[in-house]
Symmetry: D2
Subunit: 326 residues, 4 copies
Amino acid sequence: MNSFGKNFRVQILGQSHGEYVGIVIDGCPPGIRLTVDDFKNDIERRKPGAKGTTPRKEDDIPEIISGVFNDTSTGAPITILFKNSNTRSGDYEKQRAVPRPGHADFVAHKKFKGFEDYRGGGHFSGRLTVALVAAGVVAKKVVGTFPGDNKIEIDSTILEIGGEKDLEKGLQKAIDAKDSIGGIVECKVSNLPIGLGEPFFDSVESLISHAVFSIPAVKGIEFGAGFAAAKMFGSEHNDSLINANGTTATNNAGGIVGGITNGNELIFRIVVKPTSSTPKIQETLNVETGNVEPFSVKGRHDLCIALRVPVVLEAVTAMVLADLIN
Amino acid sequence: MNSFGKNFRVQILGQSHGEYVGIVIDGCPPGIRLTVDDFKNDIERRKPGAKGTTPRKEDDIPEIISGVFNDTSTGAPITILFKNSNTRSGDYEKQRAVPRPGHADFVAHKKFKGFEDYRGGGHFSGRLTVALVAAGVVAKKVVGTFPGDNKIEIDSTILEIGGEKDLEKGLQKAIDAKDSIGGIVECKVSNLPIGLGEPFFDSVESLISHAVFSIPAVKGIEFGAGFAAAKMFGSEHNDSLINANGTTATNNAGGIVGGITNGNELIFRIVVKPTSSTPKIQETLNVETGNVEPFSVKGRHDLCIALRVPVVLEAVTAMVLADLIN
Amino acid sequence: MNSFGKNFRVQILGQSHGEYVGIVIDGCPPGIRLTVDDFKNDIERRKPGAKGTTPRKEDDIPEIISGVFNDTSTGAPITILFKNSNTRSGDYEKQRAVPRPGHADFVAHKKFKGFEDYRGGGHFSGRLTVALVAAGVVAKKVVGTFPGDNKIEIDSTILEIGGEKDLEKGLQKAIDAKDSIGGIVECKVSNLPIGLGEPFFDSVESLISHAVFSIPAVKGIEFGAGFAAAKMFGSEHNDSLINANGTTATNNAGGIVGGITNGNELIFRIVVKPTSSTPKIQETLNVETGNVEPFSVKGRHDLCIALRVPVVLEAVTAMVLADLIN
Amino acid sequence: MNSFGKNFRVQILGQSHGEYVGIVIDGCPPGIRLTVDDFKNDIERRKPGAKGTTPRKEDDIPEIISGVFNDTSTGAPITILFKNSNTRSGDYEKQRAVPRPGHADFVAHKKFKGFEDYRGGGHFSGRLTVALVAAGVVAKKVVGTFPGDNKIEIDSTILEIGGEKDLEKGLQKAIDAKDSIGGIVECKVSNLPIGLGEPFFDSVESLISHAVFSIPAVKGIEFGAGFAAAKMFGSEHNDSLINANGTTATNNAGGIVGGITNGNELIFRIVVKPTSSTPKIQETLNVETGNVEPFSVKGRHDLCIALRVPVVLEAVTAMVLADLIN
């Protein structure tokens, strides 16, 4: 099902080439200021246009059609829609016979028995992440109202593109190879209270990873020292407690012990696979002819989808935290 | 909350030094054969005793107190308990002032306002994984009844200890260093149907990672090529479809595309941090004195908890699949 | 939270004087034919205009903005919106000081800390039942696809108005008294399979009553013989099984035994209180002045809201059944 | 599924003739005092022995096997078991061919495909209400800690037996008729805060009725004026607000408006059907012979199960309130 959360619950909706994509947010407390302007910055960050992203123009103006009155949340479900412009779908019918490599075309066809909206990825499209970003804007506001000494801050950045810390260099690799490329994105949350999460099943790691794997193209997640812990000794990995606030000398745990926030910085990284749509010629099955045929992607696409992920990662992280704090 | 699943739902219960640990399984279909013997093999696999694991004896005989009649599931909730023997808790009170590094002692104390059962890790203890294993035995049986050409099989193995593929060598590192050590465990599932999972929020990756991070000491997960995808080009990572059954030439996606199983082998890896209880002298805060003091672990503990994880990993994976298939 | 269901899940949204009211339906199977025309009949049945209902004109044309492609459900969330026309809200601000008797104005103000959309009942408005009706149309189609010897049919009718079986006579009572009036509505479902529902917590009675009390103005529900059972002997109330299909000689259980459908007609009745907005002068508190003052309702309202309930009752019943069958 | 609640969640388990019945309570806050003695009074109230109830002896001593430490809740799941004594099940096999009228025997057999535990009603047995009562004891304690001017109090009483307000007279009817008999039970909750519940789907009426229909034999529920509202005018039914605390002059709404508590007494009534096991000779199908045959109940049974319901009704009401307040 396409919903997430218990006390701050989101329901995503829409397809790439439908009339709208959008999200319903249930459980947002009343009294949160919300105007269209509040969404501008994060929506801008998700937009294509930078080097390595698609130059396709998207005018993403949120339409808040419920739950907000006098620019303030009412406590009723908040619905935010984004109109899909630019949804020519002329030749999708023809392309159906050739499931795009790396895309969900084939599994969608099987799962939904041939009734899926196959235009532009349909409900599987990265287009829907604009709805996640919108929910994230609301969630960040909710999280920001949490009483504490300092404001909870969520910040996500790109760590690597194609194995390079220099992002320009990583992108250039892809441009030179006329191919798409993967990357790693990190997220940090500061000023969290101690005690969020549950020991079994609803650990903070469980909830964050659950949400994060809803971002298309994410294939892995690690907290704190992460996979490096496999090579570490216990005496290296253990974070020594140094004061009664719970501060630790190191942060290999990434701010979570026993599934529970420990008051140190929450830190985790995700891997974003290379964009499935690559300029390179590939092979795939033509399900009509039964032959494996050469395949090339039409149109302009992101070379590196990781570039657009940070703001989406912040958004789903904020959603989880809003749910835990609410 | 300490429950997981929608149609095959488990509720875990118990503390390390309480009378029992156990699990309630709701949604198990009627007519599944279940005897105490069915649990033996998996419980044996979880037991300590091998090199690198604690020699502490645990007699884990499941008591099935509901939901099974004439050695067959009835459709009503199945409750399985394990009696905790060997629960001397004499000197835990004294140790409370000194939260163990890497353990949940400090966060548990804060989250539960000092009322937590602090003996032996309480509800956070690795002891509770015996209950997960029991649920996994039932889940495997449910998954095994799924109609298909071949039986769904779940298999988990240790890939690395301390960075070594030779597990003996990895363990010896720890023994030589008089320290505990981490590892990597892999899980593979074959013969899955196409179409399990949902595009948003309930992707197979989301559900598996949610469940997997309930296993104590897991700090990361990756599917298919995983973190290596960050360095890959799209043309390398994309798995070409080669026939109408959905078979792909490679399996970088790990059997999941768009969050949905694609009929290829489901494959993922997790990192298990080094056991928090290490023989090495460490430092931690004495919350009574306010001083950071040297700290040493009493008793015998696993040097490498990863060694006991494979059967637990299979168990939570089976739980997720039973939930999806049910 | 404003959602309901596990496998066929609805999320309601909107306020009386917002831009739209609507519903998101998650879990609708793919391949269900759905056009705007399919909604016409049930939406028409809910409309005002008959004797005893408000003459206010509502043009309720469903806008299906997601989840349907080529007039067929895709398996992705279906979103249906209804534009609110006629939403002059000029003088609501002034009326805020005087919570209307029988309405949610006072509790909404308290619960939502003064941020509620107070225009025309806001999110509490009976206006939102048009969204329930729309979900019901989809649910009826889902239920109608259930394989069985006969098609499941849901039918709801008014039993009494103001204590009279002759509905004209009951309404005339209200017209004569220049007051609003209550009524009783019955719902019957035929051709249900045996075995829907769960013994504890998710009995069919539990789920139906949960859904039914979401219809504004409902204050009671009874199944089969219902409250009359309080005066009956066991030998009278027990329904004797007369054949192997589960047919019973009588149907005092209303088709549910032990919380489970028994294959006989599901039958239940609800009481609908008189419309809170009555033409009669009443008294209520002016929260600004602190005085209890005379109060009269402006505008035209339904004298008997029960008249518009049958199609809404069918809708929520269909939602529950779609969830159980799905 | 056999669980209920979101933030205070219960999972019921066990069968009449299994080893134990019991309940797991997840979400109980830490720091609640809980000893075996705390359960005595409510368990005593549920016990048979009074006139009209079965003289069968049940020694119901709760075994708290998890979640309580030093007589105090820890915040981890609380598990409470009751050993089933007196579970001779010798001749149940023979009785299987003859589904008892009014009981769940037939539907259980169909739903669970013949694998149900058919001894003494199995998982459908009224025996499981002892587990509800235990959860109610915990829930009442949680509700009792809600900060407010006055302590929230839940009180349930029998209103009628067999149509008589004089309960002795009602029972005598049944004794004279050598038959079982139904009744009406009322529940009142005082000192509730304003604002519990949600406008759609999770109204207080929705949640309470959901829980209440888990009590075996309940066939109807009404809030405030209830079914009498069908005959009332709006001006009669509307409760006038008389002060800023939300006090109303009358309480026809039963303390709930728009699905939300309004601070007045919560009041509702349920109908309890006559005990299905009546001393009278009845008829039912013999599924082996295919004939409808005379049937008589063996053993001693409650003449009027309503007599034992009040404490169970308080329990499930407390569970709902604990969930809403938690």
